[in-house]
Symmetry: D2
Subunit: 288 residues, 4 copies
C-alpha cells in the first residue's frame, strides 16, 4: 500500500485468481442504472467456474436482498442469489429491531426500500404521508433511498421534524453518489442525509461501508462455508471512500474498478489527494 | 461578550435607542414566508421617527434589491427603499463581472434571482435548460435560490456538470435555512450548494454574511450619509452563524431575535454549544 | 431513545442489575490521571459478586492489555485481568499485520505504546528518531499515544513526512480528549491525528470506538463464555461521540457516566445538540 | 478561470507587467525560515523601478508591521516599509478594541506577537503564565503565533480554559502551515486553533486571508495613493486556500507561486481537486 507503482491498470482476471473469495460492490461494479455492466455476466460465470466464493456487499438499501437478486436475474445475471447479497439496510434493520422499542418509524425512500423498516412490530410511515403537525408518536427517522419522495417538499419536512423533535436518525446507505452510466452519477441517500444532519446539528447513525460492520458480517457468513483468512479475500469496488477504505481497514486486499463512480482521470487525483490506496486498479471486472 | 448574563431577553425598543444605525437581516427579522412579521411595520416607523439609519443586509438573492423593496411595499412595509437593501447577490454579481470574462454562466434559481447574473455581457442559462451533453461553453455555475428548479433532477445535473468540467462555482447565499413560519424553516441555497460542494470535492466561492464583505459594503454606504463608528451600529439577525458571527467579527454590536431560524428553546443550547454570543437577545424587533 | 425523560440521573447499581454483561470504558469511567475513580473498586467487586461479565473496551493504546491490567492492579483494582481488556490498539495491530508487508513502521507515542507495532516482522522507529531525510524505507505512520514525543517538533515532522511520501496512516485511538481529573482533560491522540490529517489532506484509517469493530470483537469474545444477546449488554462510557454512539449503533443499551469527559452541565447541552441519546445517565459507576 | 490551459508555468516578470499594483503574501513568496527567497530582492527592486505599487498581505501575526519591516531590512530586503505591510493581526486587534471592553485577554504566541493584544487598555496574559484556577477575569483567548509556548502543556491549557469558561476566541492567523524551506513546512496557528475549536465544539472568530476584510483594507489604503480597479491588481501567494481563493473572491487576478507551501507536483492535484484556479502559476517571483 504505497501510492507509487499501483497507478497502472491490472487485468481483473489475473487479480482474482490470487484470492479464495471475492466481495463485490453492486452499483458501479456489477450494474448501473442502464443494467448489468458489460462483461460482468461472463466474469461472474468465470469466477464461479474457478470455485471462487462471491458475496455482494452493497450500500444499496432500495430493495430487500430477495428483490435485489430477482432484479439481477431479470437483468440477465443468474448466478447470484439472495443469500449472496448483504446490504447496509440489513445492518440498519438489526439496529432498529434492537433499539426502537416504541413509537412510529418514519422512513425516506421507495415502497421497495421500506422492507428494511417493516415487520419490526412498529408502525411505519413514509415521509410523504407524515403530517408535520402529528408527530407525537414518531420515535425514529430512517433514510433508505434517494427516490420515492419529492425532494424539495420532503427533505424540508425532515429538517422540520428534527427541529420539533429530538429522535434518533438512522441512515441505511452512507454513499454520496451512485453511477447511472459511465459518464453520470446520481446523488445517493448518504449525501442527502448528511445535508440534513449538518442543518440539524445532530449526529446521525450511519450503516454501510466503510464501517467494519458489513465486512465482519460478510466474513462471518463466508467462514461458515469455507476456511478463509481476511487476506485471502479481495474487496472490489468503484468508490475509494467506502469500498476501498473499508476493505483496507478490515485487512482484505482491495481492487478499485473504473466502471462506476471513479473515472480513470479522477482516479490519480483522488488516490493522491486522499491517500486511500487500493492494492489493484482494474478497468472493470470484465475478463477480456 | 461572555455567555453568562446575556441569556435573558431585552426589549428591542430599549436596545435600538443606543445606536445611530440599525442593520437588519430580512428573513426571520422583517418577514417570513407568510408576510411581514407582526409589529415590524410599527417598529420600522418608530426607528425612522428617531432618525435611525436603517440598512437591510440579506443573504436573500431570490430577487433584485428593487424587487425586494417592491415586495416589502406590497406586503405593507413602506419605509424601506431599494437603496436601503444590500443583498449577497450584489457581491456575487460584482465577482462575476470581474472574473468571468468569457463563456456561459449557468445559474440555479428562479427567473427573479437571475437578475444577479444578467446584464454582465455573458450568456446565461438556467440549470433547467442546460443540456449536460452541451457544456463546452459553460464557464461558471452560480447558486442563487432554492426555488425555480426541480431539486432531484437539477441538483443531480449540477453534480454531473462539475464531474465533467472544472469551473468556478459561486454561491450567492450562504444560509442553511430560512424561516417560513414561527415553527418551520425551509432549506436555503447555501445548504444545497454545500452538499454539491462536498460531493464534488471542490471549493466553492461563497458570498454573504458572515463574510466581512457585505458588512464593509454597508458600512461604506452608510459612511457617505453620516459619520458613524462601527460600535455605533447594531446588527440584528435571527441566525447565530451568519448575522451574529458576522456582526461580532466586524466590530458592531449584535442582537439575536427569536422570530426566525432560532427559537427560544434552541437559543440557549446553540449559544452555549457554539460560543457565538450576541450582545442582546430580543423576542423580535416589534416594539411592545 | 428519545431525549425527553432520560435527562435525569439513575443509580448505576440499579441499572447494571438489568444486564448480563457490562462493557466499561476505561478513562473517565474506571480511572483518570490521578488513579482509580472513587467507588470503582467496590463497584467492580459488587458486579463480580452478581456474576456480571465485565469487559473493558478502551481507545487507550498507550500500553498493551497486559500492562493496562498490571497498572489497574498497581492502582488497587485487582478484579480485572489482561483477557478482560480490549484496546483499539489491538485492532490497529491486526490491520498492520495484514496490510503492511514491507518497509519500516514509524510510530507516534511512548515506548509502552510501541507494543502495538512491534513483533510484526517490520522494523519500527519512533517519530523522535526519524530522520526526515531518510524516509525511503518508511511504509506506514501510526498514531498510538499523545505522550512520548515533543509535540511541536514531532507533529511538524509527521506533517512533513506525509508531504514527502504517500503512505497509509493508522490511528489507534479516535478520542479527542481524556480526563485527567474531574475538572480537566488532556488532548488525546485522535485529535492530534485529525489535525495532521486535515493539514495533509489525506484520509487516515481510524481504529476504536465508535466503529463497530471493537464492539463486535468484544461481543464475540463474550459469546464464547456465555450465551448473550446484544440488548442484554450495557455499554458504559463518559463520551457521547465514541462510547454512547458506538454502543447505540451496535444495539446495546448505553449508560453515560459523568465522572470523565462530560460534566453534568455539559451533558444536557451535548445530548440535545448532538442527538446522541444514552439509555441511562449515572453520576459514575460507584454504588452509593 | 478554467482549469485547462493554466497548468503551465508563466514568467513572473511578464505577468506583473500587466498590473498597476502587486499584493504579495510574505511566507513562501518573499521569505521562508531561512531568509529572503532567492531572487526576491532583485524582483522587488525591478517592480519598484517600474513604479508598481507593492503591498504585503500576510497572515503572519508573529510581529508588528514595524518589526516585520525591520526584519525584512535585516535580511537584506530594503525596499519594503512598515506602511507597505498589512497583517491579519491588525484586523484581530481592531476587533479586540471594539468588542472586548473588560476583563483580561489571554494570548497564545511569542512576546513579539503580543503587540496585537497590547495597548488596548486591557490586561494581557500569555497562556504560559495563566493559572487555570484563576480564570474569573479572563474575557477572551487570542491565538497569535505557533511559537512562544510549550505545545503539549499550553494547548491542553487552552482546551481546559474553554471547558471552564465560555468566552470569545479570536484567531489572528487562519493558515494551516508556513514554509520553512523549499522542502518543509511548519504547522501554523490556524491549524492549532482549529484543533482546539473542534475539541471545544465552539465557533472561533478567524481573521486573515481568504476573508475579504484584509483585501478590502489593502485596497482602501492603495486607493488613497492611486486610482486603481480591482482587476488591475495581482495577488501573489503560495497557498490556494487563502491567497488564491481570497484574491479570486475579491475580484483581483491571482498568481500562485511554487516557492512555498505548494510544490509543483502538488499543484496539479490540488487545483484539480479543489477547483481553486489561479490566473497564473509562476515558479517564484524571481525575475530570471
Amino acid at each position: 500500500m504505497s501510492a507509487g507503482h499501483r497507478m497502472k491498470l491490472s487485468s481483473f482476471e489475473a487479480v482474482q485468481r490470487k484470492y479464495k473469495a471475492i466481495f463485490l460492490d453492486s452499483f458501479g461494479v456489477i450494474k448501473n442504472a442502464h443494467g448489468i455492466i458489460e462483461g460482468v455476466v461472463e466474469s461472474v460465470k468465470h469466477m464461479r467456474s474457478l470455485d471462487k466464493e462471491i458475496i455482494i456487499l452493497t450500500n444499496d438499501s432500495s430493495r430487500s436482498p430477495k428483490e435485489l437478486a430477482a432484479n439481477f436475474h431479470r437483468l440477465g445475471l443468474e448466478l447470484v442469489d439472495e443469500e449472496d447479497i448483504i446490504s447496509s439496510g440489513m445492518m440498519a434493520r438489526a439496529f432498529l429491531r434492537n433499539k426502537i422499542k416504541k413509537g412510529t418509524i418514519v422512513y425516506v425512500g421507495t415502497p421497495g426500500s421500506s422492507f428494511y423498516v417493516q415487520g419490526l412490530g412498529r408502525p411505519t410511515v413514509p415521509i410523504n404521508d407524515l403530517d408535520i403537525d402529528q408527530i407525537e408518536e414518531v420515535s425514529a427517522l430512517v433514510f433508505l433511498d434517494d427516490e420515492g419522495f419529492e425532494w424539495q417538499t420532503h427533505i424540508n419536512k425532515c429538517v422540520n421534524l428534527l427541529r420539533l423533535k429530538s429522535i434518533p436518525v438512522i441512515v441505511a446507505n452512507t454513499d454520496n453518489t451512485y453511477p447511472v452510466s459511465t459518464r453520470e452519477v446520481n446523488i445517493a441517500t448518504g449525501a442527502i442525509a448528511r445535508m440534513v444532519e449538518k442543518i440539524s446539528k445532530k449526529k446521525f447513525i450511519y450503516f454501510g461501508k466503510p464501517d467494519s460492520q458489513m465486512f465482519i458480517y460478510a466474513y462471518e457468513r463466508l467462514s461458515k462455508k469455507i476456511r478463509v483468512e481476511r487476506n485471502e479475500i479481495l474487496m472490489v469496488g468503484d468508490t475509494l471512500r467506502t469500498d476501498i477504505m473499508g476493505g483496507n481497514k478490515f485487512g482484505m486486499s482491495t481492487a478499485l474498478v473504473l466502471s462506476g463512480n471513479t473515472s480513470e482521470t479522477q482516479m490519480r487525483t483522488y488516490i493522491k489527494s486522499t491517500g486511500i490506496i487500493p492494492n489493484y486498479i482494474c478497468p472493470s471486472i470484465a475478463i477480456d
